[in-house]
Point group: C2
Chain length 181, copies 2
Amino acid sequence: RRMFPTFQVKIFGMDPMADYMLLMDFVPVDDKRYRQVPHCPRHGARLVGYAFHSSSWLVAGKADPATPGRVHYHPDSPAKGAQWMKQIVSFDKLKLTNNLLDDNGHIILNSMHRYQPRFHVVYVDPRKDSEKYAEENFKTFVFEETRFTAVTAYQNHRITQLKIASNPFAKGFRDCDPEDW
Amino acid sequence: RRMFPTFQVKIFGMDPMADYMLLMDFVPVDDKRYRQVPHCPRHGARLVGYAFHSSSWLVAGKADPATPGRVHYHPDSPAKGAQWMKQIVSFDKLKLTNNLLDDNGHIILNSMHRYQPRFHVVYVDPRKDSEKYAEENFKTFVFEETRFTAVTAYQNHRITQLKIASNPFAKGFRDCDPEDW
DNA sequence: CCCTTTTCACCTAGGTGGTAAGAT
DNA sequence: ATCTTACCACCTAGGTGAAAAGGG
């Protein structure tokens, strides 16, 4: 599925005439596996069907084996600096999956693990021996506030409500105008 | 609205590593305005509502003033020759309008006039004085079988049926499987 | 019990010709 | 009478969380 909200950046300082590739990848934040806070029927209220729990996570142990470290190129790549800078760049085609055998080129993540999205800008070096300069021709940006825990089902009702309120495709689940929210 | 069927080309012979722009424009086939064959209620059957007529056109006089000669760049432009050649190039984002004040960048045509679509390949010359070589850096292709008469409403029931049978978005108007057609 | 998978109703977004009304 | 415009039901295509079913 698509990552929501979408990762978006506003870019400054490129050479307007040069070509750049823009891409994203995801790295584990730590070496842990998480689990939800236990549902304790003896002390809690009786819950039917799927039960939402607290907003915190417990460490469940060591991380599962790392997934293939795939990369997502922004589909407009390559493009001139002027093109990238003239409006906000949106990674809305990026999709996440937990399927290790995925052959759609989606980003593969382990559920119940924490990830840090990273954004990379690669300068397309016109020189013939450009491979030699690979190390100096890219720059990586990390925004820590974009960290998240990958899940197959939401663990926190407030996250669900936030998604329903802000994602236009979830309008069918709203019970009031998101402007009033 | 979109042009249907879509103009599609398979390209050979480009320099795989060079950049090209692909674009289309539309030129008048002649200097005439057309009109449908008259509906003659005295000799024909009585027709209720909209009446379809013969499959031929009558010349109604001299062409209306030419519309702004807009151009449609394939949205993947510019791209490498290798990219353009590896699959059929489809101009499915191209849209036609009769609105002279259109500000969506659509191709403006006069209704009831005949047009010839043209396909242009422009080599992006990396030399600094590339403007000097503009004349030798493009090639135009004309397929006469793609000529058509622009209309605001279909004049020929067989054209309508062909569109309904072949355009997936018109599936709601089909009364049998297009495979059986 | 905890998590994952599958299916679904319900949306967004936009491409069809039909149809009735409008314009000349 | 002929052509154009505006709106519509009905599609394609695909993004939502809910809910039920499945797995360990």
